[in-house]
Point group: C2
Chain length 280, copies 2
Amino acid sequence: MSIETVSTARAFGGTQGVYRHASAATGTDMTFSVFVPDHPAGARLPVVWYLSGLTCTHANVTEKGEYRRACAEHGLILVAPDTSPRGEGVPDDPDGAYDFGLGAGFYVDATKAPFDRHYRMWSYVTEELPALIGEQFPADMDRQSIMGHSMGGHGALTIGLRHPDRFRAVSAFAPIVAPSQVPWGQKALAGYLGDDRAAWRRHDAVALIEDGARVPELLVDQGEADNFLAEQLKPDLLAQACEAAGIDLTLCMQPGYDHSYYFISTFMADHLDWHAARLK
Amino acid sequence: MSIETVSTARAFGGTQGVYRHASAATGTDMTFSVFVPDHPAGARLPVVWYLSGLTCTHANVTEKGEYRRACAEHGLILVAPDTSPRGEGVPDDPDGAYDFGLGAGFYVDATKAPFDRHYRMWSYVTEELPALIGEQFPADMDRQSIMGHSMGGHGALTIGLRHPDRFRAVSAFAPIVAPSQVPWGQKALAGYLGDDRAAWRRHDAVALIEDGARVPELLVDQGEADNFLAEQLKPDLLAQACEAAGIDLTLCMQPGYDHSYYFISTFMADHLDWHAARLK
């Protein structure tokens, strides 16, 4: 596997890079960012995965996420993938909506045409990109954790719940916790997976917990002034599922905070501190 | 004076706002951002001015500057103005170059047509906007400091040197220290001020120091991998002028760092700590 370096810049005593490679999973070029703190020669550092939300690329969190200081302090690599395949021949939402297609891969492997050819973000994020990171970066793949925002919070929760032995910490900012029960998720799961409700349940954090998936603990921050809270996010559904399953959920409701990177950046260091404690 | 609120968001225990007003100085609408940490009712907080570089608006530092954590910790308001007038009827560089006209006001009051009508950023930043901030925000205008990046570092140094009683701290990231001696500055000063070299000297930090302007100390961070270092920035000229004038310059050369917000954000907290110590 080979990667192309799009850019690197020194930041917070480390290197913030952006890279591109030809993905076998999606059949497209994919771009991602990696922050690597300075480290002793030969050292391998824990890896935090950050999955982004609707409309985002790697660039949003890379520019606005304010993660580098904490990653440098704790010696953590942070990887930020794109949110969908892109490029010529990749189908988009028929109406060009922001919540499906480009920028809205929902971290599933699509089974429904025409999306099944390129929209394979589950395989990309759980298999292909981790292999590339382990090969090309000084990453200790035995110490990984995962976090995400909104649609990426959905991705972090579902991927974390289905890989309890891989991720030592799972957290989210304003996640979609039950896509089967909200408009964003219903549109995406129907569009990518069709009517197979069993397949939907494997991409729904609340349903996964109801069906027996377990992690010891979860951390979620949620802004109380988030415009999407009541209709799309519904953290109470996650709280109920965790309560019934005995999962130790720390759900921090943050008065006044919205759905933006102003919210994410405010609580990023808290999440990275929490991850670091579990990755050491 | 009245202002329009473009947006506000809660961040780091404060409010990040973006505002617009009709400027008498520039004869245009002007947009700026202000971060106000939470504070006791009736309290007035010190104000840090951040002046941006070529091509920027208020948005670059607001999104990428990573200043809010330190401002909240220290109880500092941060104001980020735009870098030029904008809008219908505002003349731009005849060739559309990035280093003159829109996004490149150079913090001078132009005297040369057609720029003399709107390009009055010196008056805007030193008079009109401070009056607005003092009136509309919980700002203690007896405790101000100023910083900036590149062209904005030039602005911070020249404004600071010409107002030693107003600003308790003056610092810069990769500033243009001697515009009369470098291509960016020569183009801008000639374009806005014409051939009046005495007017140029009042907008050149090194010349101001040579001509007797004094502040007790300055802080400058400069990346050694900055593409503009040798041709446009020349911090050695500032070091020589400060040495001769007895100004205590702390010039931090940062190996590997470039001219971007990856560099600025890395050292932003250092600068804000330094400002806070002088504003308390």
